[in-house]
Amino acid sequence: MTATGGRRVRRTLLYAALIGTSLLMIGPFYWALSTSFKPSADIFASPPKWIPDPWTLENYRDVFTLLPFPRYFLNSVIVTSAIVGLNIVFDTAAAYAFAKLRFPGRDVLFFLLLITLMVPFQVNLIPLYRIMVRLHDISPLLGVGTYSAMIMPSMIQVFGIFLMRQFMRSIPDEILESARVDGASEFKILWKVVIPLAAPGIATLAIFTFLGAWNDFLWPLLVTNSDETRTLPVGLALLARRNTVNWGQTMAGTTFLAGPMILMFLILQRRFIEGLTAGSLKG
């Protein structure tokens, strides 16, 4: 760092860059939010009204009355929580094995899993749907039209395993070795030593998994046929009418879809980023 004057200039530029890009990031969302409070006549007013005036709750009211909104929200919460829970358990377990344990076929198996990421999921839709239909024939609690249809295919995410494996790799082997020497079983090591160290990684995994599951549209669309199991993104799509879109309602729906995520991130981000800072990656 050079002389104080240069430093000040640098800091000003820094702040300017940060503020500028932040506005760019948030701007469109603010627009969407404000649109959700505008009466339809004003949505495309020119010049654009940044602050809704007059403002109205009719879009939100519409969304709530036209759709069984709380039910969709509940369904989303149930499905997403289940997926996140299962992923935390299974992805972490598998990642530890792939990262720190040696066993025959380990790299081949990991590579095979990686391959599955390279196939677009759209191509799996029909076979997967058929599996779900068969499961439903086996039991009405499984398969098409149930929560399980949405939860099971997503109960592990190869991306999640990959992510956790990266985190785990940086855990020094010495710690594990000394635990083994002390006679701990692998599972105990995982539970008592690895998981606390990988906590920020798990937080990251939780956030990304939650993201994917909460916003998932196509698969839940296919496997849900009634309001009882429909999740939020699918339900909101029903707002669309043929040949026309009510932007005010759509933006209100969008706010509900994105809102909880953003809120959750804002609340957790301190822990999440601080966890990263805590230096588990420092090694």
Partner: protein
């Protein structure tokens, strides 16, 4: 919870290994002859009208009242995702019993034999009367594929001319009946209100990138999309060239405004008065009322002007029964029910679309004078249009052909290619599709 999931997965994978890849559904065929008390049957009905559907709770309740052994499991869908979901379901042995089909999907699905033979199911009759009596000739033809009915038209779509009657009056314009008059009217109608030398108000909407809006010009010039045997393109004819050049002429002389995806929905252009004339279908009546209520009384409808003969595309929605539907007979009962006059009128009142049966089109509810249209009764004009409308060719490759034509129109409208070469190119591609 962890354990039970694991077990289910193990069992499921074993079951899957044992039974995969057959793709056949063994649903309950559940049909009975009338007389004896029928076994209870549940039919699944899927549509894409979203929350503004004519298949309302009341309609369903009334149907179940009339047919007490049938329970209707109604599943709402939306237009955008309907097709994909339907495809996945039907090809996975999980077919609904009744589904709404956009008429432009019929060629692809029908040529893969996805639909049940409605000629057989119906015996040629709808609610006791011959099907040919219930529908116009054009509709009957549109519902037929390979000599049998594959769908029953539920709502229809054909284009007529919407115009700002108040502006016509102010500017002394006569309602155009042919292409020359339409061009003249467009030029007289358009205005330059901000003095920059270009028209910016009351222009003619030139919808630029699909076959719906352009093919009507092709038909009106006496042309057709494919030859009669459906083995080669026929739109690269004199008529096609004329039609393309005509469509473009509005943009060239400034009386038209190009409308593509970037401009958003046309209703916005209508609302801020950039558009003063456009060609579109009956559902726009509802859209106008909802989206531009302040323009009530200013709009009127007229038959689309033509050059050689009147023409329009014919589309809309049909009710179909998949070939592997679990309960086709009951499904047919439901289809007939939805085609009764009362439910058909509901198509307009609830969904803002135009019903397809002749009875509905002639009914007093739909032939009323409307305040929005300055005292005119707009429906009869659309009903008449149905008589001269042509459906798109029912070939297996319709979807790619549709895309090729739409792309061709778009490239000409955007000035990327000259009409003749665009036509020749597109025709060559279409021929390739048809051959392959």
């Amino acid at each position: 919870m962890r354990f039970s999931v694991r077990w289910f997965v193990v069992i499921a994978s074993l079951a899957l290994v044992a039974t995969s890849c057959t793709g056949d559904e063994e649903g309950n065929g559940g049909t009975t002859s009338p007389g004896a008390s029928p076994e209870p049957v549940t039919i699944t009905v899927v549509d894409y009208y979203g929350e503004a559907t004519p298949i309302s709770e009341e309609v369903i309740a009334a149907f179940e009242g009339e047919y007490p052994w049938i329970t209707v499991k109604y599943e709402a869908g939306d237009w955008d995702s309907m097709r994909e979901k339907f495809t996945v379901r039907v090809t996975s042995g999980d077919s609904p019993d009744v589904a709404t089909m956009d008429m432009t999907w019929i060629p692809t699905f029908a040529s893969e034999a996805i639909f049940a033979d409605l000629s057989e199911l119906s015996g040629g009759e709808l609610n006791g009367a011959p099907i040919t009596d219930e529908y116009s000739e054009g509709a009957v033809e549109a519902m037929t594929f390979d000599d049998h009915y594959v769908t029953m038209m539920f709502d229809f779509d054909a284009y007529a001319l919407y115009y700002r009657a108040d502006q016509f009056e102010d500017k002394g314009i006569d309602v155009p009946t042919n292409w020359d008059e339409l061009s003249a009217a467009a030029e007289q109608l358009a205005e330059d209100t901000n003095g920059d030398g270009k028209n910016d108000k009351y222009m003619f909407e030139v919808y630029g990138n699909d076959c719906f809006h352009w093919c009507q010009f092709l038909f009106q010039a006496g042309g057709s999309i494919l030859n009669e045997e459906h083995t080669a393109a026929a739109f690269d004819s004199e008529a096609g060239l004329t039609a393309l050049e005509y469509h473009k002429s509005f943009l060239d002389n400034g009386s038209g405004v190009y409308w593509g995806d970037a401009e958003g929905e046309p209703i916005r252009g209508i609302k801020d008065e950039r558009i003063g004339m456009f060609l579109d279908g009956p559902y726009y009546m509802g859209l106008l009322k909802d989206g531009a209520p302040d323009q009530s009384g200013m709009w009127k409808v007229a038959p689309a002007p033509y050059s050689v003969e009147p023409g329009s595309y014919l589309g809309g929605t049909g009710l179909s029964i998949p070939v592997n539907a679990p309960n086709p007979e009951e499904a047919w009962l439901f289809v007939q029910y939805m085609l009764r006059l009362e439910q058909q009128i509901g198509v307009y009142t609830l969904a803002g679309a135009a019903p397809a049966t002749e009875a509905a089109l002639g009914s007093p509810e739909l032939t009323q004078e409307e305040e929005y249209f300055g005292g005119q009764a707009p429906f009869p004009i659309f009903a008449d249009t149905m008589a001269i409308a042509t459906h798109f060719p029912y070939v297996e490759q319709w979807d790619p052909i549709d895309t090729i034509i739409g792309t061709m129109v778009e490239s000409v409208m955007l000035g990327e290619s000259a009409p003749q070469e665009a036509l020749t190119d597109a025709a060559a591609k279409v021929n390739e599709e048809l051959a392959g």
